[in-house]
């Protein structure tokens, strides 16, 4: 194998691998979408965690708030650590949708570019509430 042939083979192998890598994980646009979707996923999880309020040990069930606001969350679960920015989509600025299905059941949803991909890519992060990639919602039931 001459030096030149080795270099040509190396350039070919690196080029093919880089193209295959970009084709598989996507380019910069996909990277940005992944980043925003990850924000959404983590914020939904944070909101769900605050709504479930499992760290509080009052022992009595507290009804879910009527709407999703910092004040309502503070009343529902003081010191839950929710900031105003956590309730809004980082990219669009729109509030996350919150549905209070009963005094105990809720779901918080966001509009994802690719919810299934987001679930797969962030599987290492264990959310307290189950996430449904079909709807882009996290739902839970307070005790």
């Amino acid at each position: 194998m001459s030096n030149r042939l080795f270099l040509l083979l190396m350039i070919a192998a690196v080029s093919v691998a880089v193209i295959a890598g970009l084709w598989t994980v996507g380019g910069p646009m996909q990277g940005r979408r992944d980043k925003f979707d990850r924000h959404r996923y983590l914020e939904l999880s944070k909101i769900a965690d605050a709504l479930l309020c499992e760290h509080r040990s009052s022992g009595t069930a507290v009804p879910l708030p009527e709407d999703l606001s910092v004040d309502a969350m503070r009343i529902h679960c003081s010191g839950a650590g929710i900031a105003e920015a956590d309730l809004f989509d980082n990219e669009t600025g729109a509030p996350y949708s919150y549905e209070r299905m009963s005094e105990q059941d809720f779901s918080v949803c966001a509009s994802f570019y690719d919810a299934e991909r987001t679930r797969r890519l962030n599987a290492s992060f264990r959310s307290v509430a189950p996430f449904d990639p079909e709807t882009g919602c996290m739902s839970g039931r307070v005790r």
Binding site: N3, T24, R120
Partner: protein, 213 residues
Amino acid sequence: MATNDILTQFVREALALGNSREDIQSALDDAGWSTREIAEAMEAFATTDFNPPVPKPRPQLTARDAFVYLVLFTALAFVATNLINLIHAVLDLILPDPGAEAWTDGRATDRARWSISILVIAAPVFVWMTLYTNRQIHEDAGHRRSLVRKWLTYLALFISALVFLGDAAFVIYSFLAGETTMRFLLKALTVACVSAAVFVFYLRDVEADADEQ
């Protein structure tokens, strides 16, 4: 003065005084020097009647060579490891394994992006530095005697041989552990191909050096 310097100086002075090579070897042998030490000291001077004795070129260690070859071999290490890493990440994503951990996809995506970033920088550096050093050697064979180049070439051979043999052992282990999926076999093949290519490439370099001498 180091032992070898004393010996070399003695050989130089003995040759300058007109002693034959056989007589000098015999005197050194009687004094207790080993055959290898004697041969190295005698090899330091060209076989010619010219007086004073003509020294042969010796391996050099220069700061410039250290810089050039450290950059070259670091780029090689980055290219080889990240090429393997990128191919493994792509295989993780396109051939999902139900037995793999849940976080595999997230990690593989990050690994792929990092490897692409490093390859885009390291591969052109490696190609450019290889062409540059080859041109230097072509123009002046003295560059072939660089001590840093010699050491790093053998280090590349050692590491690639180690990786190749380790990969082979891992394939056997995985076969015994029942993990012979297509994804695993392709990953092992990638490691084997990259390490073998590096080994063969630098082995040729070592052989070319030996021919030169």
